[in-house]
Amino acid sequence: MTENLAPATVLQKTDDVLMTESEGVTVLMSMTTGNFIELNGSGAAIWEAIDGSQNQAAIIEHLQRTYQIGADQCAADVTEFSAQLLAEGLVQEAASA
């Protein structure tokens, strides 16, 4: 499942996630689906950046600046991976302030 996340979307981690490090790889597990998601370098950075306060645009800008990635590539990576996390129930949209 893929979803287009608006730049203003703010995501937060759910309580429904268990996380561990295995052989240098971060593994997330949804308590709903039981699936494992392994985080590579960029995945781990996106996961780290999802904190319930930064919106998608801010995360893209932050990662682009930190890792010197092209804007289009960075935006595509962040929205695609965020959508996957959403579909797995590992993150949810944060309630509006």
Binding site: M19, T20, S22, M31, T33, F36
Partner: protein, 299 residues
Amino acid sequence: MLETARQQFDVFAKLGNAQTNAPLRAQLKAKLARETPTPEALAMQLNLARRSGDLAATRSAIVELARLNGETGDFSEKAIVPFGLENPTGQKLAPLIVIDDFLQPDQMNALHRHACDTEDEFRKANTNSQSPAYDPDKRETLVNWHFTEMRDHFEEFIEQNLAEFQCILGLPAFVKERMELKMTCHIDGGFFRVHADNHEPITEAGRAITWLYYFGEQTPRYTGGELFLLDTELATGVRSTVWFTKVEPKPNRLVAFPSWFYHAVGPTQVECGEFGAGRFAISSHIRKPADGLGWSTEW
């Protein structure tokens, strides 16, 4: 082995990795200690335990879950997973009997010696009874249909315990039509990809209980060869790609489950390459005739 089977086993290995699951289970345990346990959290505890192959913790989690639901949680010592449990995506957990230390050590050793002495009677197994052809993409098992050692012992044990097995596995008291009984060995590279032993409706004639007795050297020189019992939706045959019960093929262990549930045997590694160091089993199917018995609606 087909690439699809290899990929499937890689997924099982990853999801069932005890080292990866241990910290996840510890986090969940801490969460359960902090908060009032919910049935969902306890069910997850159970699911992670069984996926990791921790049978004692699986049984404890089932008892805990039953008690939370107001039940006694008292069930047979032989039952690791009782009949009637469902995973979060609606498939049934395969009911599972496990009996460790099934034979006396000298009896198991005699069985192993017999297997080694009759090595030349083992043949490459066919894929299934309907399609009598050897297919290394689907299965690599050596089989000996004519073993003699302890054969009567196994037949008598099943005769005496069938009613209890039926009860634990949620099966009605069908009459045993006959029992298929063979000795198998998985040497280096052995495996059996995901399959069910019976695809017929439950009231039709066919295999009803699959049981295996693992044996071999007291200290195994093989690795792998685990049994993966996949959660299955019995009415449709849909099986989970994520939830399963992993059973280590520990020597002197007997396991039994209903034949309709999907299962697989993971790849076996035998570094020394010796036949006698392989993963041996007595493998059996108890067959029943067509019946009009009172099958639980949960089937």
